[in-house]
Amino acid sequence: MLPPALETILADHERIKDLLPHRYPMLLVDAVRELRAGESIRAAKAVTLDEAPYVRARGAATGTATRSYPTSLVVESFCQAAGILFMESGLAGYDPHRHVLLFGALAGCRVTGAAFPGDVLTHHARIVKAFSDSAVFAGEVAVGGRPVLTVDQVVMAVRDREMVMRS
């Protein structure tokens, strides 16, 4: 039998994969630390040297800025954490085989720091407004208590795959 802590961790991983359709190399949430359905989520993503951005980067860096984890992926990881919160809040009648989660809009997203391989991104996302098939989130991303990104507003929407395919 597995120790209870490990059982929780493994169940958590399966739950993340049940809720998010994303897979390697685009599944960018490793663990859910705290979840309050309808309210907020804390989730973690470890940045590793084995990921695509670092496989792609070549040669000596002339500064740390060029080796910081791409902002686009910090945003994606945050949105995936928000997506888990969305699904766990039962707002969408979501079926991962039929639906797809789309990034609708973003506003006031400030980059205040950088993350590097070895760092853990800690996402804190809150639901600002929820509708039947979309929701507005706000939040922050921190590394070791240091904020690296603040987000005033992200809009995510659930859409039928068939409709996206035809659009």
Binding site: R23, Y24, S72, E76, L102
Partner: protein, 138 residues
């Protein structure tokens, strides 16, 4: 015009294939969304969509190309804010993303504001506004 190599930059993909126009105040780039890009396997399995954040990445790399083409060091341009982004239509393999960025540098040369319109054929796929600090290499 060929884009310069962003060799040392940690980036999820090369998000600009070519520069089709560039002047002091603007750059237009193209990126063909290919089904053989690694992201397709995971975003999403059996149903590839160019991630919205990769549209942001295409705009970002277009801005770095704009800075480099102006004779400055692209490493000094640091993304500080995604002021807004609206994703209007998802892109799928076979689509070609055409990104037009209007770039305005502040009088003291320390801040760059960018307004980008991304089209797939004639249809607007996304609108993005970014702000950069232009400073020393970090």
């Amino acid at each position: 015009m060929s884009p310069i190599e962003l060799g040392e930059l940690a980036r999820p993909l090369d998000a600009v294939d070519a520069i089709v126009h560039r002047d002091e105040a603007a750059i237009t780039t193209v990126k063909a969304v290919s089904g053989s890009e690694p992201f397709c396997a995971g975003h999403y399995p059996g149903f590839a969509i160019y991630p919205g954040v990769f549209v942001l990445e295409t705009v970002h790399q277009s801005v770095l190309q704009h800075v480099a083409a102006g004779g400055a060091d692209w490493r000094k341009a640091r993304l500080r804010e995604i002021r807004s982004a609206r994703f209007l239509a998802p892109l799928r393999p076979g689509d070609v993303l055409r990104t037009q960025c209007r770039c305005s540098l502040s009088a003291d040369g320390t801040e760059l504001k960018v307004q980008a319109t991304c089209r797939n054929a004639e249809r607007v796929s996304a609108e993005v506004r970014l702000r950069y600090a232009i400073g020393e290499r970090g």
